[in-house]
Symmetry: none
DNA sequence: CATGAATGAGCTTTCATTCAT
DNA sequence: AATGAATGAAAGCTCATTCAT
């Protein structure tokens, strides 16, 4: 039991180290040595816990998606008005800034995908969870009559996810022409314009 | 003069080779050797023309942006109705499919780009040109009265660029949950819903 | 005593695991981890019982030689006619086929020898036991008058061992030009031609 | 041309270095670094000339077989009497001693060879050339009436190759119970006893 | 203008080994 | 008696880069 706990602990620590490292130097140049250094271990030790650098990356991504989506789910769960839910979903779905390590990992990972079936699955897993959130909020809003969408819920959800992804990516990539605030405002305006806002 | 011409010729050939290579195997694993092989030259020869693999990549990106944006400009230039212009802008702004080498390079580059100032500049350069296109079309539509937007032109353009980027990325990354057609439809629905469509 | 018994038991199990592993993947790539996996133990546990991977290998070889030679001794012990004894010695001395794990270990080991005095000793130990068998059979045949050799018994035995070794090696190495049957036939023909066969 | 010559020269040098290294420390522990050190180059340089450590090994084996078999062919070509040819074939077919680097490589390679098709082919290639030599000599002897074999030429040749292989292996492996001289004597005795010797 | 040769840093991965528990 | 944790050396290999020609 103590063993298992330690294992889990170490694995978490490694995931954190990976996250931090990617946040700092990017996914492309990520190396075992980098992660090891930050975790205060040797390369060998990492490979004791993970079969592969890839395996570590996959777990880190999984953990990242979970952390990202769960925290948003939680944030929304405490809100009753769909309009407030939507505002929160938008706010929580964007990176906090160019240094948001978690979001950076998530987005860089997505782009690097296509290399393997496992990767594709992961990317689609994240997409699916993003869709779910908006779908749920929109459905609630339509049901309660506060939203009257100009397009099917599914399409609307997809558009919101797309906006979220693009703005998230630009922010994380350091595009200085897009600020977090501007992105949020644009998403809110879009949502409202498409019928998911305070109805007259 | 002959020298210069040959130089230019070779450089173009190298850019083409780079583009093709990235289209085939992705940016992440791009190596001098790959490009050299495809160009029928040696690694050394590439470094004769370009300081660096990075330099070649930068030029290739520049050329890619130009090709992408110019061709869209051209497509729109021949159209008079802003509504048709917008439809064309949307259609031309998305990859033709997962194998669209040009778009793949553009998007992978944006995300993977090192964090050098030069890279940032390039990414922003592409963003600026994308903005310009939508800004121009929207401005024309508003001026002629066929569009009545629910938000400022600038914000609207940004949202369209964002949708374009996200869908483009998903398509290029091989996300099987998003088809080119679905992306186009979603973008058109969004544009229309936000006031950039056939006005009643 | 119970301890000792368990020890012996475990050691035998490890030897068996080693034998099986070598039979499957060859000696060259043998690793502690492979053996441990097959034995259902950890690497550490093996090193508890054996100083070294090498030590385990040595014991496995010793056990292999014993098993190989003892079984041949037994087979011959039940036969009275030296001609039949010789035929049996030949038959039992060759691998059953390319997948004969025991013989594979024995031969691969021999080739890898020369690394240490211990190795040399082992190889010679096997050679000595092979010699003994043929020497005994030949001596009996000469004594009883059924063999009339064209050369000294010692030289004849050595030649038979050599033939056995070479054919065994070729078979185990997967040489498709030599079948087990062809090898047996050739050895029998040689024995006979050299005077160790049915005398006219 | 100069280029090509240099290439060939370097490759030969690398093969020699490989041969020497194997002769000294065995095939099992052969590493790029060892060969590089002996050749006075870096590991990278070797990989410039050979795709792979394996590729270098394959070429070295090929060169070794050629050198071994060609020199024996040459030795025999100058002899007219089949009995002398056979004696020479036997003498030339055995290692000069435990330190015969070429023979050591050849034999270790045969046994240790991975189980790839390429390896199998090589091993069989050597076997085939060994067979040819004895087949040719025996055929000549039978034709001229100086040999009257007790078995088919093919079987006889195979037996001689087997003896050669086994004695070669034992010598190279450092088996102190078998000397080069004893091996030669035993092979000659066997050949003679089987009808390939001075006929009465 | 371009090549062929060679380097050397860096990478992932394998593995025997050590050691506290 | 045996494990789990961690190390560290060494391996093969990739690759951008340098340089004489």
């Amino acid at each position: 039991m103590a063993r298992t706990k330690n294992q889990a602990h170490r694995r978490e620590a490694l995931i954190s180290a990976t996250l931090e490292t990617v946040g700092e130097s990017g996914l492309r140049s990520l190396s075992l040595a980098d992660v090891a250094r930050r975790a205060g271990l040797t390369r060998g030790a990492i490979l004791y816990y993970y079969e592969d650098l890839d395996a570590l990356l996959v777990e880190t991504h999984r953990a990242g998606v979970q952390r990202f989506c769960d925290s948003r789910d939680d944030a929304i769960a405490g809100i009753s008005d769909p309009r407030d839910q939507l505002a929160t979903a938008i706010d929580e779905g964007l990176p906090s800034g160019p240094d948001d390590a978690l979001m950076r990992l998530l987005y860089e990972f997505d782009v690097l995908a296509g290399t393997s079936a496992a990767h594709d699955e992961m990317v689609e897993g994240m997409f699916t969870r993003q869709m779910e959130i908006y779908r749920r909020v929109l459905t609630a809003g339509v049901a309660s009559g506060v939203f009257s969408l100009t397009m099917p819920i599914e399409q609307m959800a997809m558009n919101l996810v797309a906006l979220e992804d693009a703005y998230g990516l630009h922010i994380v990539a350091g595009n200085s022409l897009i600020t977090v605030e501007a992105a949020k405002a644009a998403m809110r305006a879009a949502a409202e314009g498409l019928g998911a806002g305070p109805t007259g």
